[in-house]
């Protein structure tokens, strides 16, 4: 039987420990940290930037940077990559979770073979990881987006939200807070719909087109995802709605540059994903070294970003969101 072959293969293969390429498990303090970054999916410029920040940090403190990930951001697609990292015995895994629960068991297994787990950008359930690097407080992110859209449409009219996947942890938390913020402070703004573009350019583009057909009175679109805002801006730029319908949300300067320059987009916000990846890598290093455990009040050094303190629930806050507009966008390149 084939299964017998697999067993035989494994039974006599456990002595082949001459693989020089294997990361050194449990390397403490020898300045050779093996850290694997696992974004929601590969090929997303946002994660390319955060991974570059992680690579920069790992180059600073001496270690092996590895970047792996699925091609599509589905809940269980990250499981096999977590398993692979556990098999390789890496020191730490830095993950942006597609789903707060679906990868928990896989992360638990990785941690049981002494892999430190840091989540960033999108968290898992707190018990499944050692630390979460939070890009910004959800309240701050929601508030800045509501303020931007309110300012751009003059404080009244219909708006819609173009989100990523329907079960993306961070997206849903922000949308909920935006709804609260709108209800509390902007009675004349009506949120007519929340649509999902699955962080796919074409899907987001089509959803934008459908929104404008369904709601001819629409004054603004808020997209709290970098893929969505760029697709929405591209649709508006080439349609008769340019200048009539505001597009804002969370985007990256390089993606949004042309839309800001031609006036399709007035302002948008984000944090610096490179800093986020950089901070996550330093947090992973501190965990591997054992200088922190992820308990509240632990402090660690994060290179050029200075010193950080672990808050409640093993969370480290990067800082406040940053608003990009025509005046400052030229200063950024990511």
């Amino acid at each position: 039987m084939a299964a017998g072959l697999v067993l035989a293969g494994c039974a006599n293969g456990d002595s082949g420990g001459d693989n020089g390429a294997a990361p050194d498990p449990g390397a403490g303090g020898d300045s050779n940290f093996a850290i694997t970054f696992l974004p929601k999916s590969l090929g997303n410029p946002y994660f390319d930037t955060s991974n570059a920040g992680g690579a920069e940090a790992i180059a600073e403190f001496g270690g092996t940077f590895q970047e792996v990930g699925p091609t599509e951001a589905s809940p269980t697609s990250q499981v096999s990559f977590i398993q692979t990292a556990a098999q390789q015995g890496v020191d730490a895994l830095v993950v942006s979770a597609n789903d707060p629960a679906a990868i928990c068991d896989a992360l638990d297994e990785a941690r049981s073979v002494d892999v430190k787990v840091v989540t960033f950008d999108s968290d898992t359930n707190p018990e499944c990881r050692d630390l979460f690097i939070n890009q910004a407080e959800a309240e701050g992110i929601a508030r800045v987006q509501v303020e931007m859209i309110a300012e751009q449409i003059g404080g009244e009219g219909q708006i819609a939200i173009l989100s990523a996947a329907a079960n993306a942890t961070n997206q849903n938390a922000w949308i909920e807070l935006m709804q609260e913020e709108l209800a509390a402070n902007w009675p004349d703004i009506e949120l007519v719909d929340v649509v999902y573009g699955d962080d796919d350019d074409q899907t987001s583009f089509d959803r934008t087109a459908a929104l404008l057909q369904t709601y001819p009175e629409l004054r603004g679109i808020v997209s709290p995802t970098t893929v969505g805002i760029a697709a929405a801006a591209r649709y508006i730029q080439t349609s008769q709605f340019q200048g009539q319908v505001a597009v804002t949300g969370l985007g990256t300067p390089n993606q949004m540059r042309e839309y800001v320059e031609d006036g399709t987009v007035t302002a948008f916000a984000l944090w610096n994903p490179a800093d986020l990846g950089y901070l996550a890598a330093y947090a992973a290093k501190a965990l591997v070294e054992g200088t922190i455990t992820g308990a509240e009040g632990d402090t660690f050094d994060a290179g050029r970003l200075g010193s950080y303190t672990v808050g409640a629930n093993g969370t480290v806050l990067l800082g406040d969101p940053f608003v990009f507009n025509a005046d400052n966008i030229a200063d950024f390149n990511f």
Partner: protein, 334 residues
Amino acid sequence: MVPHGRPLWRRAVLTREGAVIGMLAVVIVVALTTVPNFDSPLTITFLLRDVAPILLIALPMTLIIITEEIDLSVASVVALSSVTVGILTRDGAPFELAMVAGVLVGAVAGTINGFLVTVVGLPSLAVTIGSLAMFRGISVGLLGTQAVTDFPEEWTSLARSNIPGTPIPSIMIAFVILAIIFGVVLHATPFGRSLYAIGLNKEAAHFSGVNVGRTKFILFVASGTVSGFAGVYFTLLYGNARGENATGMELAVIAAVLLGGVSIFGGRGALHGVIAGVLLIGTIGSALRLAGVTADIINVITGVVLVLSVVSASFLAWFHRARATARARGEKQG
């Protein structure tokens, strides 16, 4: 009977099943000697655990394809079963009942397929493309954008447990039992022989007393039931029930079945080849992931292996025909 002039090993390798098992052995040996950490016991645990749903569903799928039918709805049935387990658990039903319901929902789904194919007399390709969409739609509709992730710890840890003292996942016990049942039915009973007869020539099988409709009906119910069971396992393994679960798995199953030497035109195939086919695809994926190959390249390589296997099958058939013709000529001259 002309005596074969070739040694036994060459005859064995020259069958499709032999070739696939041989390839599996080669891939395992190459991976053990060249891929770091492939010899970790975690490798076999993760590999078998992840391919278990595909292994399970491949059993009835083999029988269905041998009769020249197909069931494309299996992955949607997995999702339907998963969502059933999730909703019942969320609403407080006893978990044992929820699991039984998941399997039963699969059986009902298979009954619907079987009814449409055999009683109404529609082609299974059309029927199961339709039910693929229908069952997936129902699954996503039932849970919407939510996921149920709270399952009894004793059951989720059982799904992830190994046979004590080995790196083999416990689910393999269920698989081996089912594989023996399906193997005996297919290769050692009149019912099994009738499947080949149906696949080779439906009318001839009918006139020699085979109840074609009833036979196929049984197969579709079996396919649905096993998919329902795989859905329960999938739910426990990943600790989540959602409508999108197992999307695309039907193609993984069918690809493995065809790789294992079952003819898409019916009438040919054996279960051990199929099992080797599933393990071959799983092992290639596992080894390449460990070697740091990206997901899209893994898809390309898997695709190339499948195409080559189909091409080589045609070549082998031609080779055997050519030899037979040559032998026949030789006998005439003798």
